[in-house]
């Protein structure tokens, strides 16, 4: 490490802000960070401006953490700008890495979303059927709002990402660890996920045993045994197919995993893998019975792709009108 302090940048694109809150959650450690690094850009906390970023030389920032998915042209442009200004770009959080929950929007078209938000929702009073427009004029004032993209994309659809730190949000300890690794210059090979290669099952203390499900249950349908694996109890759990890192936060409070830390190392389609693992727990030699049991899983695509639809092989619903 050179004597010079590291230059850091943080930014979010289309996200919820939870990743920034997670950065704040490193608590007093943020003061340690301040000692070894200068934050040159962090809109949530600092008053640096975009034009300051634009004025930076390419590669000025040593590391930039970018969270949030790409939802419109602005997200994309900021991502491209920061990519150019950063030596190392880290996709922080599941939205940036895999699309995140808002990636569920890829089950719908942009038109469907606008129609629902501005016309169909029950409290909307919109007799003229107005849909917000990119350019409009009000009392002689011309106003602009950006057009949203047709779909939600993950960050590496548009820019080269050096490291991935998924999680919704990534645990503060993981962020702190990543910062430590950066400061110490001990980053792994570019393209790596900055998490252990294991899965949530590895971190979950529940006893796995039966691996056979007679009936799939919904979380509200039973009070699960606190010691036993939730999947064994018939709850669809993504733990087997989800990268470790969260410390099994959800199963610790009796709720099944929904896959927010993304796929296991090297897995191309987390949802398909999870689905395959969950489906076979219902195997029997009675096809009709099996069909009945498996059909109890009502929204497989929404469940298995809850955090990663834009990262799946098909990226979302095909654009043909739903029949």
């Amino acid at each position: 490490m050179s004597d010079k302090k590291l230059k850091l940048g943080l930014y979010w694109a289309a996200g919820c802000g939870g990743c920034d809150v997670a950065v704040l959650d490193i608590d007093e450690k943020i003061l340690d960070v301040a000692e070894v690094a200068d934050i040159h850009f962090w809109p949530i906390a600092m008053d640096f401006k975009y034009k300051d970023v634009a004025a930076m030389d390419d590669g000025f920032l040593d590391v930039c953490f970018l969270n949030g998915a790409i939802r419109n042209s602005e997200n994309k442009e900021v991502a491209e700008l920061l990519r150019a200004k950063s030596k190392v770009l880290v996709a922080l959080g599941t939205c940036a890495c895999y699309g995140g929950v808002i990636g569920l929007a890829n089950f719908c078209t942009r038109e469907e979303i606008l129609e629902t938000a501005f016309k169909k929702t029950v409290s909307t009073d919109n007799p003229e059927g107005i849909i917000p427009q990119p350019v409009s004029e009000v009392d002689g004032c011309e106003l602009h709002i950006p057009e949203v993209y047709e779909a939600v994309y993950k960050l590496d659809d548009f820019v080269n990402v050096d490291y991935y730190l998924p999680g919704c949000p990534p645990r503060a300890e993981l962020i702190a660890k990543a910062i430590d690794a950066i400061v110490a210059g001990q980053l792994p090979e570019p393209g790596s996920v900055l998490l252990p290669a294991k899965t949530v099952c590895d971190e979950c203390k529940r006893e796995k045993k039966d691996r056979h499900v007679d009936e799939f249950k919904r979380p509200w349908e039973l009070i699960p045994d606190e010691e036993k694996c939730l999947l064994d109890q018939g709850l669809v759990c993504m733990g087997p197919a989800t990268r470790a890192g969260c410390g099994a936060a959800c199963t610790n409070v009796n709720m099944p995993c929904r896959g927010c830390y993304g796929p296991a190392e090297g897995v191309i389609d987390q949802g398909a893998k999870a689905m395959s693992a969950v489906a076979v727990t219902a195997v029997s030699t009675n096809l009709a019975e099996m069909e009945k049991v498996i059909s109890q899983v009502k929204d497989p695509a929404g469940t298995f792709y809850m955090y990663g639809l834009p990262n799946s092989l098909l990226r979302g619903r095909q654009m043909k009108e739903a029949k």
Binding site: T199, C201, P240, K273
Partner: protein, 650 residues
């Protein structure tokens, strides 16, 4: 791998078989432009010597390190070309085949379309082959001892045959004596020779041969390992009699004060003492103490048997003992049990004194049985009329759908014996008369001439009216409902899987079919094998069988086992599942998926571990591994996905 990939592609004309429909030269030309392809040729017959030589030459001279042959089905010539590669030092799994004969030229009308399809398949093979890894066949050592579970006629036959091949064999029998169900029979159909006369010598031989070891009153507790290397834990139940010291004099039995215990071996038609041998010809012919009923064990007082024993063989302190033995193969011959007709109250079994099972009747007519061979009603009188009801629990949706096979002929035998012993009226109520074996139909004809009344109709109900049993049936020949008054009813109870079948299936990790019997690997071609290598089946544990079939299977299973262990080594296919411990999250999804119990869970490392000797390479674990840790060699996710890309590239 840093080595540069050099692919040789060989498009076979197969004479005109392929060339008629596929423009082989065009396919080769197409292939030559694909990434990593160094040479691409088309040739008359790739599988013939000159074709093979072409490949060898390119490997040697051009440094080809991946080979793609586009010709017939890999099910045909994959081994041929693997050998070609190996003959010049290239691993056989650096080879991939594109099936452009069976899947293209022979099934496609249009030449242009066929050529396009052939290109797609070649493109897929070319895309895939760089990802293939070298794989090696391996061998594991083979233990040449054989375990036979069950000492009935099938197990005895199997054990004697293995022993005859000069291999050591161990029989584990849960009862105090070997012999099984056959030992209880009086006569055997269709020859009506005495069952004991043909069985006893075989039982004795088991006891006498040096390379046959008997564990009676014992059960298989645990099975570890895999083909060639099974380690079996056997529980020797406490017999309370030291077999080494006991001479079988029987003094203890005569002195035992507890004499009123229902005698299971005699189908509860009589009673026995607390220390007893099940039957006079038992092997070993040494007693066992029934601790549940023995006064010494229930009250702490008595001990008469110990006092009278001249050799001090009675040992009240004996405990269950666990012994482990190693085997190369296991033969399962656990037989069957009889359906309990009291399950269906309509037959009156357990309700009316003179409704009995076929096996009870069998004991009754046996000269050494409880009635010394006389057919007697409960009141001691001889019945004047006897009804024999077929298909009790068989061919019946409420109980067992299957046909128990031997009961028709057995019923004929019993009808004959009933007639012979009582000279009364004998009625046989049947649905269909299924006498399929050699000489059985002739036996049926013979019995028909003996004055038995055959009524074609299932005996649906047995009732009692004024002390008289009535059998109700719909006589399907007369088309009439009938009630037939009789003194005694014999129920031909179904043959069903023994109670231990499920547990043993788990212990051995073998499957059962829907009817509950053990499942064979293939009903026609592998009737004696199970899906688990090294474990074989014979006799009625696989499905209802009569004595000739059981004996034949016993010999067959012995042959399977001998054939296996004589090879000396177990070959392990290189197409197996492998678990990447770094990636495995220990979710254990795969463990239940494996039909061969080849995957276990390492508690310490918290990962799945594959026993490659048990694995058959189906890849099912891989297909549902949520982390991609479990790979199927030669069929990895990456290889298959690349192949999919390849077939769609054209």
């Amino acid at each position: 791998m840093s080595e540069e990939i050099k692919i040789g592609v060989y498009v076979c004309h197969c004479g005109s078989n392929i060339a008629d429909k596929v423009d082989c030269a065009a396919v080769a030309e197409f292939a030559s432009k694909l990434p990593n392809v160094t040479v691409a040729r088309d040739f008359q017959y790739m599988c013939a010597d000159p074709g093979q030589e072409l490949i060898r030459k390119d490997i040697k001279e051009q440094g080809i390190n991946r080979v793609v042959v586009a010709s017939c089905s890999p099910r045909m010539h994959e081994p041929t070309f693997r050998k070609v590669c190996e003959s010049v030092g290239l691993n056989g799994y650096f080879f991939e085949m594109a099936n452009i004969r069976e899947h293209v030229s022979w099934c496609t009308e249009d030449r242009e379309a066929a050529t396009e399809k052939a290109k797609a398949l070649v493109a897929a093979a070319v895309a895939r082959v760089p990802l293939q890894e070298p794989l090696y066949e391996r061998y594991a050592d083979m233990n040449d001892r054989v375990l036979v579970i069950g000492g009935g006629i099938a197990g005895i036959e199997a054990a004697l045959k293995v022993s005859g091949g000069n291999k050591e064999v161990v029989i584990v029998e849960k009862e105090p004596s070997i012999g099984g169900t056959m030992a209880k029979l009086d006569k055997t159909f269709p020859t009506l020779d005495c069952s004991a006369c043909i069985l006893t010598p075989k039982m004795v031989e088991c006891a006498q041969r040096d390379n046959v070891k008997l564990y009676t009153y014992s059960e298989v507790e645990k099975v570890d390992g895999y083909v060639g290397n099974f380690t079996v834990t056997i529980r020797k139940k406490a017999r309370s009699v030291d077999l080494d010291k006991c001479t079988g004099c029987g003094l203890c039995i005569t002195k035992c004060p507890t004499k009123d215990i229902p005698h299971e071996w005699e189908e509860n038609l009589t009673t026995r003492t607390a220390i007893f041998t099940p039957f006079p010809q038992a092997v070993p012919n040494k007693p066992v103490i029934d601790r549940e009923n023995c006064r010494y064990f229930t009250t702490g007082k008595c001990g008469i048997c110990a006092k009278v024993c001249p050799t001090d063989a009675v040992d009240f302190e004996q405990e269950d003992e666990l012994v482990t033995e190693d085997f190369g193969a296991i033969i399962v011959a656990t037989g069957f049990e009889l359906f309990d007709p009291s399950v269906g109250p309509q037959w009156g079994f357990g309700k009316f004194d003179n409704v009995i099972t076929s096996l009870q009747f069998e004991r009754m007519v046996n000269a050494s049985g409880p009635t010394k061979g006389k057919v007697l009603l409960k009141n001691g009188e001889e019945p004047k009329s006897i009804a024999i009801l077929h298909c009790i629990g068989s061919r019946d949706e409420n109980y067992h759908e299957y046909c128990s096979r031997f009961c028709c002929t057995a019923a004929l035998k019993l009808a004959h014996l009933a007639k012979e012993k009582t000279n009364g009226d004998v009625y046989s109520f049947y649905i269909d008369m299924r006498t399929f074996g050699k000489g059985y139909e002739e036996f049926y004809n013979r019995i028909m001439s003996e004055g038995i009344h055959f009524i074609r109709g299932k005996g649906t109900e047995v009732v009692e009216r004024k002390g008289q049993l009535l059998v109700r049936t719909e006589d399907t020949l007369l088309g009439k409902y009938r009630e037939v008054p009789v003194d005694m009813v014999v129920l031909m109870a179904a043959c069903q899987p023994g109670q231990d079948t499920e547990k043993l299936a788990q212990t051995l990790a073998i499957q059962r079919s829907a009817d509950g019997f053990f499942l064979e690997a293939h009903p026609k071609l592998e009737p004696l094998k199970t899906a688990t290598d090294g474990i074989f089946l014979c006799g009625a544990c696989q499905g209802p069988k009569d004595i000739p079939d059981s004996v034949a299977q016993g010999a067959g299973a012995a042959s399977e086992a001998l054939s296996l262990i004589s090879a000396g080594k177990v070959k392990i296919s290189p197409i197996v599942a492998r678990c990447d411990e770094d990636k495995c999250g220990g979710c254990m999804i795969c463990i239940n998926l494996c039909p061969y119990t080849a995957i276990s869970y390492d508690e310490e490392k918290k990962v799945a571990v594959v026993n490659e000797a048990k694995c058959k390479g189906c890849g099912t674990c891989s297909g549902s591994c949520p982390t991609g840790a479990m790979t199927n060699t030669n069929f990895t996710d990456e290889q298959i996905m690349t192949q999919i890309e390849g077939v769609l590239a054209v």
